[in-house]
């Protein structure tokens, strides 16, 4: 009787307890935390950077990049030649490579992969653009493939080294089609794809047949049998997930939490510099007052960038000094932006006619010095914007901050054009990522810059430049032009604060920065 009366309560308790029994956790399973739940994870079609964290180990690429220098090394292609006109790339493929489904990898598979990527019906969001002026690929024989371009495109090898152009089994691509393939991915890499449940988990298993590892890997073979990825979108919960043993590795830890965990014996903090553009604000050169280069210079000098970086990002970040971050090739050594000098900033504004009036506000011909800053709501942009506003108010400007939640709304604000500065940056390993932003017809020319000399430099660097050192020199010219015209306010080179426990020994990342070399993970510090 008594028990019967209590039954509903007991039933509820049992239900709740049953629902929270933890999964079995073998010592050969590593748990890896991701910070964003990507929408779509087929690297050939989707654009997310997060998808590359697990999938870089599912696919091999024709060439690979040295994790430290970015040098292009053999991958599935043992060697390659580029024609004199820079339009034909011939790749000689390795023998004996098999996909996870048992089928053999050959030249026809390369052609099938590229066809899948460029097929307009598949709506590729990134990989197709990485191929640049791609025309077609042809298999000469089973182990030789030629990629034809309509014009020279030096970034091609860099593109082919990335997971977005990783080699998938054409049988699987055909069998599942573009909508379902993301749940059934088949590559040739050190880990095979087992299961993906969006927002929940993604599981990889060791590929026991992996005998064609490129030279970037240190260890003889993968150690962990299984690697399970979970998604932690709320930054406040990431440290907890590490501390309660739910994950062994997790990136994008907030700076204070990262330092706290680093002090504990069981955790190690790994700051990873991410190549690409630094966190930056673009000046709108088409709208007063920032159409005047002197005003732009004054606004740069008014900002103590080192103090901002120290305050918000702690000790693991560098102040950015150009349109590219310093850990990538193409970075112009010795080009630096004006240092903090508020007196000089005030003088410049005075000379440009912005006179200090009552209440410390500047104006010219009755028009107040008024700035509108459009800031993304991610990546600490809002906090940085607050500090920028304070610095500019101190030299007599009025500052309004508008926050754009999401990339779509940021793009919309840029289309409307009602801003003095707007925050945006892209990551990438080839400096050609400057082209869409700093050329007059670029899709992301939110500065409204139109400088034929800069257009020519950036276009030459991405097409006709013969060698990497030629390209390097051209990108240095571009960095100087961008600095001299004060087109951007660079803040900080991006550093991902990764915290790992002592099950994630050997943790290293690809040249691209976000993608771990899962092959080399093993127990130990």
């Amino acid at each position: 009787m008594n028990l019967r009366r209590r039954f509903p309560f007991l039933a509820c308790t049992a239900l709740l307890l049953a629902a929270c029994t933890p999964e079995e956790d073998a010592s050969t399973t590593l748990n890896y935390g991701l910070t964003l739940a990507p929408t779509g994870i087929d690297p050939h079609l989707n654009a997310s950077a997060e998808l590359g964290i697990p999938l870089t180990s599912v696919y091999d690429t024709l060439v690979v990049q040295d994790p430290a220098t970015g040098e292009i090394l053999p991958g599935l292609a043992e060697r390659w030649e580029v024609s004199a006109d820079g339009r034909d790339y011939t790749f000689h493929l390795r023998d004996g490579v098999r996909f996870h489904d048992g089928t053999t990898f050959d030249a026809a598979d390369v052609v099938a992969n590229l066809d899948y990527t460029v097929n307009p019906d598949n709506h590729s969001q990134k990989a197709v653009f990485m191929l640049g002026p791609y025309e077609l690929a042809e298999a000469v024989d089973a182990s030789t493939v030629i990629i034809h371009l309509s014009q020279p495109f030096p970034p091609l090898l860099d593109s082919l080294a990335q997971v977005y152009l990783g080699m998938a089994s054409p049988e699987a691509l055909d069998a599942w089609g573009p909508a379902e393939y993301q749940f059934h991915q088949i590559g040739t890499g050190p880990y095979r794809f087992v299961e993906y449940v969006p927002y929940d988990h993604l599981t990889l298993e060791k590929n026991p047949d992996y005998a064609w590892a490129p030279q970037i890997y240190q260890q003889a073979g993968p150690y962990y049998d299984r690697i399970v990825f979970r998604f932690y979108e709320d930054p406040a919960t990431r440290a907890l997930a590490l501390e309660n043993g739910e994950v062994d590795v997790l990136g994008e830890i907030p700076p204070l939490e990262a330092e706290r965990l680093d002090a504990l014996p069981e955790f190690t903090l790994r700051p990873v510099a991410i190549p690409g553009q630094p966190m930056q604000f673009l000046f709108n050169t088409a709208r007063p007052p920032t159409n005047d280069p002197e005003v732009r210079r004054a606004l740069i000098e008014a900002v103590d960038r080192k103090a901002i970086v120290d305050t918000i990002f702690g000790e693991h970040s560098w102040v950015a000094e150009g349109p590219l971050s310093r850990n990538m090739w193409g970075y112009a050594d010795g080009v630096s932006f004006p240092a903090y000098d508020p007196e000089s900033a005030q003088r410049r504004l005075e000379q440009a006619g912005w006179i200090l009036g009552d209440e410390g506000r500047r104006s010219r011909d009755g028009v107040p010095l008024s700035l509108t800053v459009v800031t993304p709501n991610w990546g600490n942009h809002p906090e940085v914007s607050q500090l920028l506003a304070a610095a500019w108010e101190a030299i007599g400007a009025e500052v309004q901050i508008e926050t754009a939640p999401g990339f779509g709304l940021l793009k919309e604000a840029s289309d409307q054009g009602d801003y003095s500065l707007i925050g945006i940056n892209f990551f990438g390993t080839d400096p050609d990522l400057l082209r869409p932003m700093f050329t007059s017809s670029g899709l992301y020319n939110w500065m409204n810059v139109s400088d034929p000399a800069l257009d020519a430099v950036l276009s030459q660097a991405a097409t006709t430049a013969a060698s990497q050192s030629d390209r390097q020199a051209l990108y240095a010219d571009a960095a100087r032009a961008i600095r001299d015209q004060a087109l951007i306010l660079p803040i900080r080179d991006y550093v991902d604060l990764v915290v790992a426990d002592n099950r994630a020994g050997g943790l290293a990342f690809s040249y691209q920065g976000w993608f771990p070399l899962l092959h080399d993970l093993h127990p130990g510090p």
């Binding site: 629902a19 990134k126 969006p198 929940d200 979108e233 779509g408 709304l409 940021l410 793009k411 990522l433």
Partner: protein, 304 residues
Amino acid sequence: MRRLGTGLLTLWAAVTFAFFALRLAAGDPISSLLSQGLASPEQADALRTSLGLDSPLPVQYLRFLGGLTRGELGRSLYTQRSVAATIAQQAGSTLRLAVAGLLVAAVVGLALGIAAGTFRTSLFGRTASSLAGFATAIPAALTCVLVLWAATSLAQSSPFLLPLTRSESLLLPALALGIASSGALARVIQSGLEDNFDAPYLLAARARGVQPGPRLIWHALRPVLPLAVSFLALEAALLLGGTVVTETVFARPGLGRLLVSSILIGDYPVVQGLVLLAAVVYTLTHVAADTLSAIIDPRLRPSA
């Protein structure tokens, strides 16, 4: 028949509102799709055309309604998967969370409400009443963080509790979600009980010799239950909103996460599908609440 008509009208209004509100408020999905700076403006336009986003808004709307009448919700702009499959994959997790959360809300709300309504003059009753008020007042996001913080602090001294704080565990998210709804439920029960204890029929019951205690409380509680059930049903319909916060904080899969990320990237078809689902659930739970109330309270049954 009339109810069916009203229901369909509600659904139409909901999806229409979602269709236009999203397109006016959220950004251009193509710029989100191509957030890597690689495509040229011409390539972006080509993608827009092939996804059917270049036709005028009324044309897109009619196409969308036409699809709905054929039972098609369309495809995600990002993954090209059917919206139905995308939602179905996430629904199970949210359903489990919602059911567990409702259980917590019912148990906690009932307990607090009875305590507050029966012992209204004692310290015990007043404490229960304040707790109910507190549970109503604190925002869901804070409840989640408080529950997580409390559990983590406990687990630090008693490590065997650690598994409960992991994201696979249903207990903490259900507590957080349930507590938020329990306060209002307790209020409903409390005020109903207070009214009924003063009602003549209870005086009559006492006169018949029903002793103060469980039986008397049952007498007073029974007329309140239909209200409580309708209230819980309403809460069930609103739970999709509550799971948005709970799922994000506790890193659980589910419809709430899907909704937020789909809105942020402008994946209209998925958001429209979710709004339609929410409207269907809302309509159905209302019907279910009416039916349940009639079972519990014979006065509400249509007279034979």
